[in-house]
């Protein structure tokens, strides 16, 4: 196993789960990315996090 690839599938400091997530994200068309981004912010705000202006 190379220095870059550690046990648990870590390459260059990124886990395989992160890489999979990044891969899904980059393949998503940008208008769907915007929907996911909006949903993510909605969930964060719904859990009680306040976003200041």
């Amino acid at each position: 196993m190379s220095n870059e690839q550690q046990s648990g599938g870590t390459v260059g400091g990124e886990s395989s789960a992160t890489r999979t997530l990044v891969s899904y994200w980059t393949e998503l068309p940008h208008d769907w990315q915007a929907v996911v981004l909006g949903a993510l912010v909605l969930v964060i705000v719904a859990t009680g996090v306040q976003i200041p202006w």
Binding site: G12, H30, A46
Partner: protein, 334 residues
């Protein structure tokens, strides 16, 4: 695999710095921070350019714009949409059709421009700017030069109307509702419409977005209509060029509109409290700020100078005619 953090984070950092500078400047200069973000981006981009290490991150500005639009859905009252919906729909369809016919008539009749360029200008002016130019180009087999020519013309008007509309709105003493609907009906691309709307007022921005998203939803229909028209003109030799029905409509439909509608429905069920709605609005404002910094960085003044006189005159005359009539109708209706 591309390291996303290395490729986009530096550019996003640039957007954040410009956005924060615009906010700081807005405390000194009595101008919208959104407009200031665009102006700072435009000045920086044209004086120094966008370095390679920042270009991928700066290119994410469309995502921040669309993400902000999705979040803005939470600020829109459903009953207001239901009340105004039929009127807005009629206004959108009438304005889109009038703009297409005016630009086409001016381009072919008064100015003798090649019909493909006229059609690209008509689509860009009537629906959603450069996105409509590109979508329509595929339907009418326009070449790359024609696309670049039409896109540069549309971008020139985006830059000018972005500053001119809020100034005219204040000069004429328009209400938030009238200004928002006017900007949403007659300005070209979604980014400048959003910036101009929110630069005028929060309520005007919401109206502008609502109307503009309705216009954007017509992009697929316009592309199909143009394809059918050009096939008829060619005597049916290009039947393979017709975009494929419902599938094409879905493909060309801007999906972030669904996110906007989803957030609007969620917010209107009453499950979110006042603080949560305020947070969503703040998040949208931040995203718009970063988006508009990128929008300014993307504007290349030397490219805008490459537009021809005739296309600019066609779009200018059409814009003046259509926006004047729209303003008269809107001040009468609302």
């Amino acid at each position: 695999m591309v390291n996303v953090r290395e490729s986009v984070l530096p550019g996003i950092g640039v957007l954040v710095v410009i956005g924060l500078a615009a906010r700081a400047l807005a405390t000194v200069i009595p101008t919208s921070h959104l407009i200031l973000a665009i102006v700072i981006g435009l000045v920086v981009g044209n004086l120094y350019g966008v370095p390679d290490w920042a270009s991928a991150g700066v290119g994410t500005n469309k995502l921040w714009l669309e993400g902000g639009i999705v979040l803005m859905g939470a600020s829109v009252a459903l009953d207001r949409v239901v009340d105004a919906g039929p009127t807005i729909l009629v206004l959108v369809i009438a304005t889109v059709m009038t703009t297409i016919l005016t630009v086409e008539a001016l381009a072919r009749g008064a100015f003798g421009i090649r019909e493909q360029i006229g059609s690209l200008l008509a689509a860009g002016s009537s629906i959603c700017g450069v996105s409509a130019v590109v979508a329509t180009a595929g339907s009418i087999e326009a070449d790359e030069d024609q696309i670049a020519y039409a896109a540069a013309t549309v971008l020139l008007f985006d830059a000018v109307t972005l500053l001119a509309y809020p100034a005219l709105g204040h000069l004429f003493g328009l209400t938030d509702k009238v200004f928002g609907i006017w900007a949403g009906l007659t300005m070209f691309s979604t980014g400048p419409v959003t910036a101009a709307g929110f630069a005028f007022s929060q309520a005007a921005g919401q109206w502008a977005l609502l109307v503009k998203l309705t216009r954007n939803a017509l992009i697929g229909l316009a592309a199909i209509a143009y394809a059918l028209y050009y096939i008829r003109r060619s005597g049916g030799e290009r039947e393979d060029a017709v975009p494929g029905g419902v599938g094409y409509l879905w493909h060309s439909f801007p999906k972030f509109v669904l996110g906007f509608l989803g957030l609007m429905l969620v917010a209107n069920t009453g499950v979110l409290g006042g603080a949560q709605l305020a947070s969503l609005e703040h998040a949208a404002d931040w995203l718009f700020l970063f988006a508009f910094a990128g929008l300014g960085l993307d504007i290349r003044l030397d490219e805008l100078r490459s537009t021809g006189v005739k296309p600019v005159l066609v779009v200018l005359v059409s814009l003046i005619c259509v926006s004047t009539v729209c303003l008269f109708v809107l001040t009468t209706l609302f």
